[in-house]
């Protein structure tokens, strides 16, 4: 601000002292020496101007000496220069790094960073380009304070759970995600390279989205062309490979045999291995399962514009094999995006875009009893992968679930194909000077076809995965939706002091779908070649046969208004009211009102601060609002006849099967919106010539009338429990983000950013006193271990606390014991209620899967032609349950059993081994581990070739990049970053597919 004032003063000074005209020419380049085409060059306060050509050259004739030239271009700092003479000019524009006049999308409009009164974070395309995510969630992880991402799996194409400012519901806590205004639920179809920016609305600012806003809103804007832009062609691509980050230490064959023998002897049985001398190390099953897997990605884009129009095309291809299963867990994606914008008239504009995406993903069983990695950990190292005939070895004697994982991979055939076509079209019209009317239509169409073939297979006696009758499944689901937004805006400034902005809008959303699925049985020759439903001997149409309705139809209808006002840009005010109607709620509660408001004070513009030399910005913000959440199933307010009720008369064959009619989920006619009352107080600071940028927020979100699906009495039957508005959850926290960037010289630039979020989560109430909801399995047929209960964090683990190990019989005789009588070497559980018996009442809080704090850090510097960037994130204070030990007599074990109790005084932490009865396998703190970690997620080193005059390229850069390079953690499982994201039952590890370490070599070309 001060600089501009000085410039203006200088301008007046010069304007009064000279009056001579010259013809000007010159070039505009970026800091890397690349010419920038399409830069607007304007003589200030006149209509005179020009645009740089393809080579960044411009000429302007008849410019008065002493006048000011402004060079502006999106993404660069606007540059002004006072004309002193007619010499050729060489202008270097600096890239705009988080400037105050940066435009931020806030939903149905934009504001500059300075004007914003809510907690809104932005992830720019530069961040995405550095991180090279295959899915866009990965670009959010650790980048934005308050946003936590949990990868559901390291399998290629697998999704993540996004939570914004904590988990506030046991139901669906996904944020609303809009891509160019289009509701997108499955982010796997989005090509991250097409994204211009992601704006995350974290507080009551999201209230503009009313009933769908409570979990936060992510607004994604895709790239498009610019007017007056010469055709620019870019190619970006990389190739590389992926490897597992970790192998879990398990017993080798000799250790295994000795410990199994000990366990048998302790259980009173004959040790099975009479001779252990020749066993050696045996098979390392993890080596057999993990592999180095290739990944490659190619993007090509064409962008350009004419005087009144702009266009863009972008195409991409990604293919990625898995580190487990290789091609059997491949993910491939093609995307094509086309945009076109046209100004019919100065005040009548049209924009449009269409995207076609195809994905093809394959997967293996993961994170479950009997999944591939679970098997690799549990199968005995004494077994070989194949027998002497080259057939896969049968995993006999190790229980019903553990099978040969190599055989399992080879017998898995499935794929899931998505064809998605989506787009938008919008027109806007300015009238009566201050009014704009805009209509936007966004639509999605997707076809999801899934296929799986289950061949006849025998893994060993009594295995649950044995298949005696082969089958093939073919599913075909169609999803359609549209969003129509229409609004009128009024924008005016009175007396140069009062700026008013009023929005009046309506939004209509409708989503429908049709499901189809068929099963074919008895496939000829048990062969993949004949494995289609059409060729199967027996065919079953799953929807037709049951007589169930295979369609859905859900809609919302909304009206809303927003008023934004500021006085001299110093005192900022914004208020929103939205009325939403949803088909998800019954006639009594169909409509809801959602008010929110925010205020801001730019203290640095006050007279007493405007002249300070240190602060560039001091802004205090506050917001409050009531947001809604309607993420429950359709028609839960009415009892429908879609339950299961099948019986057989006259025999038990297909033709004897009668499909009856029964009610489905239990209805609650009174369900209504979940209400989230959210408060945010924020402080934005910039100082030291904008080199340091701090954003800090305090927030408290109180979710009331929580839509929970509570535990209900059996009297109501087996229908899915109804949703009731019963529960309160609070998330309270602070966010702090600091950035420092400096250009030490033309050759050296440096920036570092750090953010931290601390959240305290507490369930205040769950449908009445003393009640809890539970979920999350452990072992086989053990009680659920995760709970949502008043006074505890959502999804905390409940189990026994251990107090060391019984060293001898007299310790046992003097202690409280449970149903299964302990022996020396077994856990001593704490008798919490002191009743002398260990039973379910002695279970206590053993931790929870929610991190107390998460943080992220980015460092980057450029030196001459070299650029380097690194990025790390961390999660502290979350617990993980280790649940990948099968506890059957002959399964393999983690190698910490080498430290087991073997006699008095040998161990007070690791219990004895025995195949006899013991309570050591019951869920206790022994199975709960600290899941805190710090991960170096990305490091990248690039070199940009200097631009030669005769070069064909505007830009030519090569780089090497490493992702997920190392992780500091004490967690003993594969990957502490993984999780199912389930609010109740999350953080239980049954052998997560670990996220791979990826090494890439890439190139960026611009023509």
């Amino acid at each position: 601000m001060r600089h501009i004032l000085l410039n203006v003063l200088a301008f007046f000074f010069i304007a009064y002292t000279s009056a001579q005209n010259v013809n000007l020419s010159g070039t505009v380049q970026d800091e890397g020496g690349m010419p920038i085409p399409g830069v607007n060059v304007i003589v200030k306060n006149t209509t005179k101007g020009s645009v740089t050509d393809f080579d960044g050259n411009f000429t302007i004739s008849d410019v008065e000496i002493g006048s000011t030239l402004t060079f502006s271009y999106v993404g660069y700092v606007t540059y002004e220069v006072v004309i002193a003479n007619g010499n050729d000019m060489a202008i270097v524009l600096q890239e705009d790094v988080a400037q105050l006049d940066e435009v931020v999308v806030i939903g149905y409009g934009t504001q500059t960073k300075k004007e914003i009164t809510g907690a809104v974070s932005v992830v720019s395309n530069e961040t995405i380009e550095k991180l090279k995510p295959t899915r866009i969630e990965q670009a959010l992880q650790g980048q934005v304070a308050g946003v936590n991402i949990t990868a559901n799996s390291g399998s290629p194409g697998a999704g993540s759970t996004i939570s914004i400012r904590g988990v506030s519901t046991n139901g669906d806590s996904r944020p609303l995600i809009l891509v160019d205004g289009n509701v997108v639920e499955d982010l796997s179809v989005i090509n991250p390279a097409d994204i211009e920016s992601m704006n995350i609305l974290k507080d009551a600012t999201a209230g503009i989205y009313g009933v769908r806003a409570a979990n936060g809103v992510i607004l994604i804007t895709t790239k498009t062309g610019r007017k007056e832009m010469p055709l620019t062609i870019e190619y970006n691509g990389y190739m590389g490979f992926q490897q597992t980050t970790r192998k879990m230490p398990v017993l080798n064959a000799t250790e295994y045999a000795l410990i199994i023998n000990e366990a048998y002897a302790a259980g009173g049985s004959t040790p099975p291995f009479s001779d252990v001398t020749n066993l050696g190390a045996g098979t390392d099953w993890q080596d057999e399962i993990f592999q180095t897997a290739p990944i490659q990605n190619h993007n090509i884009s064409l962008r350009g514009g004419k005087e009144k129009s702009s266009y863009s095309y972008s195409g991409s291809f990604l293919t990625q094999d898995g580190i487990v299963g290789g091609k059997k867990s491949n993910f491939t994606r093609f995307t094509n995006q086309l945009t076109y914008n046209l100004d019919f008239f100065e005040n009548f504009k049209f924009k449009s875009g269409v995207t076609l995406t195809r994905t093809n993903s394959k997967g293996l069983p993961e994170n479950a009893l009997g999944s591939v990695l679970f098997n690799a950990l549990n199968i005995p190292p004494t077994l070989s992968v194949t027998d002497e005939n080259g057939d896969y070895t049968l995993a006999e004697g190790v229980g019903a679930e553990v099978i040969n994982p190599a055989a399992q991979i080879s017998n898995t055939y499935n794929r899931n194909k998505i064809m998605k076509l989506y787009g938008f079209a919008g027109i806007s019209y300015n009238f009566l000077k201050n009014f704009t009317a805009e209509a936007n239509y966004q639509w999605n169409y997707s076809e999801v076809s899934s296929y799986s073939f289950s061949p006849i297979v025998f893994y060993g006696v009594g295995k649950v995965f044995n298949i005696d009758r082969n089958s093939v499944f073919e599913g075909f689901n169609i999803f359609r939706d549209y969003t129509f937004d229409g609004f009128v805006k009024y924008e005016n400034t009175f007396n140069d002091e009062h700026k008013l902005n009023v929005l009046l809008a309506t939004s209509v959303f409708k989503t429908t779908g049709v499901f189809a699925g068929r099963i074919g049985r008895d496939i000829r020759d048990n062969s993949l070649a004949f494995a289609t439903v059409d060729e199967a001997r027996e065919q079953e149409n799953i929807y037709e046969e049951l007589g169930r309705n295979p369609t859905f139809d859900a809609r919302t209808l909304s009206y809303f208004t927003r008023v934004q006002y500021d006085y001299k840009g110093k005192y900022l005010f914004s208020a929103v009211v939205r009325r939403d109607g949803s088909t998800r709620f019954g006639p009594e509660n169909k409509f809801g009102y959602f008010p929110s408001g925010s205020i801001g004070w730019v203290a640095s513009d006050e007279d007493f601060l405007i002249d300070n030399n240190f602060f560039d910005l001091i802004k205090v913000r506050a917001s409050y609002g009531i947001l809604g959440n309607d993420r429950i199933g359709d028609y839960r307010f009415v009892s429908l006849l879609n339950g299961e009720g099948t019986y057989f008369f006259g025999g038990n064959n297909r033709e004897d099967e009668y499909f009856g009619t029964a009610s489905g989920p239990i209805a609650n006619p009174e369900i209504k919106w979940e209400k989230q009352k959210t408060i945010d107080i924020g402080l934005d600071l910039r100082f030291w010539d904008n080199k340091i940028d701090i954003t800090t927020d305090y927030f408290k979100k109180r979710t009331e009338d929580l839509l929970v699906s509570p535990a209900i009495t059996g009297l109501l039957g087996t229908g899915a429990p109804p949703f009731v508005n019963a529960g309160v959850v609070e998330n309270e926290g602070i966010e702090f983000a600091i950035g420092y960037s400096d250009n030490f010289s033309d050759n050296f630039k440096f920036s570092v950013k750090y953010n931290v979020t601390a959240i305290k989560n507490e369930v205040v109430e769950v449908s009445g006193d003393g009640e809890y909801l539970e979920g999350g399995g452990f072992g086989i047929s053990q009680p659920a271990i995760s709970r949502m209960e008043a006074g505890y964090p959502l999804g905390y683990f409940v189990g026994y606390k251990t107090d060391g190990i019984f060293q001898n019989q007299s310790e046992i005789d003097n202690a409280a014991v449970g149903e299964v009588a302990p022996q020396p070497g077994d856990f001593r559980f704490v008798d919490q209620n002191g009743d002398g018996v260990i039973d379910l009442d002695d279970r206590v809080n053993l931790g929870n899967p929610l991190p107390a704090a998460t943080m992220g850090m980015n460092i980057s510097f450029d030196y001459k032609n070299w650029d380097f960037a690194a990025y790390a994130f961390a999660s502290l204070g979350n617990e993980i349950v280790r649940n990948y030990e099968r506890n059957q007599q002959l399964v393999n074990k983690p190698n910490f059993y080498l430290n087991r109790w073997t006699g008095e005084g040998t161990s007070n932490t690791d219990p004895r081994v025995s195949i006899g009865p013991s309570a050591n396998t019951v869920f206790s703190d022994f199975y709960v581990e600290d899941g805190s970690f710090v991960r170096l997620q990305n490091a990248q080193l690039g070199y940009t070739f200097s631009n030669k005059a005769d070069s064909k390229f505007q830009k030519f850069r090569v780089y090497i990049s490493g992702q997920n390079l190392f992780t500091l953690t004490e967690y003993s499982g594969y990957d502490p970053t993984a999780g199912t994201g389930a609010p109740i039952g999350g953080g239980i590890d049954q052998g997560f597919y670990p996220s791979a370490a990826t090494y890439l070599l890439g190139v960026n070309l611009k023509f």
Partner: protein
Amino acid sequence: MKNLKQIYIVFIALVLITACSDDFVYVDSEDKNSEDYFNSEQDYQDALVAAYDYLQTTSRFVQWAEVASDNTLAGGESATDTPALQQIDDMIHSEVGQFGGGTLGQMWQWMYEAINRCNYIMEFQGKEDAIDFPNKTSVIAQTRFLRAYYNFILVKWWGDVPMIEDKRIRFGDQFEIDRTPKAEVYDLIERDLIFAAANLPYVQNETGRVTKGAAQALLGKVYLYQDKFTESASVLEDLINNGPHRLLTTAEYPNMFERDWENNIESVFEVQYSDVDGGSYDCFQCLEGNYAAFFNGPRGFVDSSGLFDAGYSFNVPVQEVVDAFEEGDIRLEYSILDIKKWIEDHPGSTYDETAGYEQTGYFNRKIMARKGDLNNPDAALTNPDNYRAIRYADVLLMAAEANRKKPTPDDIKAQYYLNQVRRRAFGEPLDATAPQIHDITSTGENLYNAILKERRVELVGEGHRFFDLVRTGRAAQEIDGFQSPKNELFPIPIEEILLTGNRWEQNPGY
């Protein structure tokens, strides 16, 4: 300029008009609304099928009741496999830990779903504008039998149980329903069965449908449980004299529990299972197969004879019940599988001897997975083996007991019915007038003891023993750890009491 004006007028109009009316968000589901049903016979028939469906969940009751008795141990994989069942086996179960999957609470829930499905039909058939059709009485009679069948299970396991007649329990009602005294529950059961017996034929066109005989047999049993011996003897003898059933012969007996002999002439009421559909642990009540068949089998069993599948080693018979069989009783071989003997007799067979908890070497052969089914996944849950819920042998033994215990006992009749069952077991002619070697000739209390002993061996594995011991007051002397009267009923899960407003008294002793 004129054009422009038009465009923007159209535009504004568009914005305002598209804002469709609120009707936009009033949409009906394409699934039928449960309040707008029963408009045709088909609707009634379809709702009835859904009421039958929950018979399939009763295999859990059969298995668990057997474990609760002195016949079998819980077994399973380990001491911590299905804790709720292990506790019942050891008679240390309580109101805690019996809610959710794999517990008594889930079984309680299944029975209420079943009864709600029956009452759904009863609620609407009784409405003023209910439609009429020729088969309506039959539909109602079948419905009432099913309701009685489910209510009988509830009252046996829990005593006084919450009940509403002819009305579904809907969300919100749970805070107002009290536990109905056992006598009132029995009263409804009797009324339902009398109606069913009066309105159903002895032979239905389709096997699996409820018959008059099934209703009479169950009514006789219900009377027996209330010590109404005269009424019991009367209805059972009506069935014996007029019904179509007979005992399988000694030669036929080995087939009794085999698949090809499902719904045989001795089977008075049979729960139908099928292997045509897949199933998963996520929804036990959705299964069409008999999970208990697989769960009762030996672990890692490879049977060279090709008859049996492997299993999960639950519900394993103890030596004492094996010893209860007399020498020469052909039933032992077909009731209890001696795994070591089987492997000896069928070379090449093996099983996993060290796997499984508290294994005895014996398995419940009557409900054990046979090979040869479709094995749709999950193969452990999709066995098609039916459960013979009421066999004619049971009817005869009940008739014997009722005749012995009625105020004016008829021991001759009692001996006759008892000896029919025994003669078949020992290969003696059923219709011989001369006394046979294994005939019971005692009277009075000795005869009574002989009848109860016969019930144990005839019906072992079929889930009757525990409640026979309870109703005859003999449980405490036979079952280790059984406390009387506490364990005569099972506890209502504490969660069930809390979730219905904390108004109910727990069963005594828990």
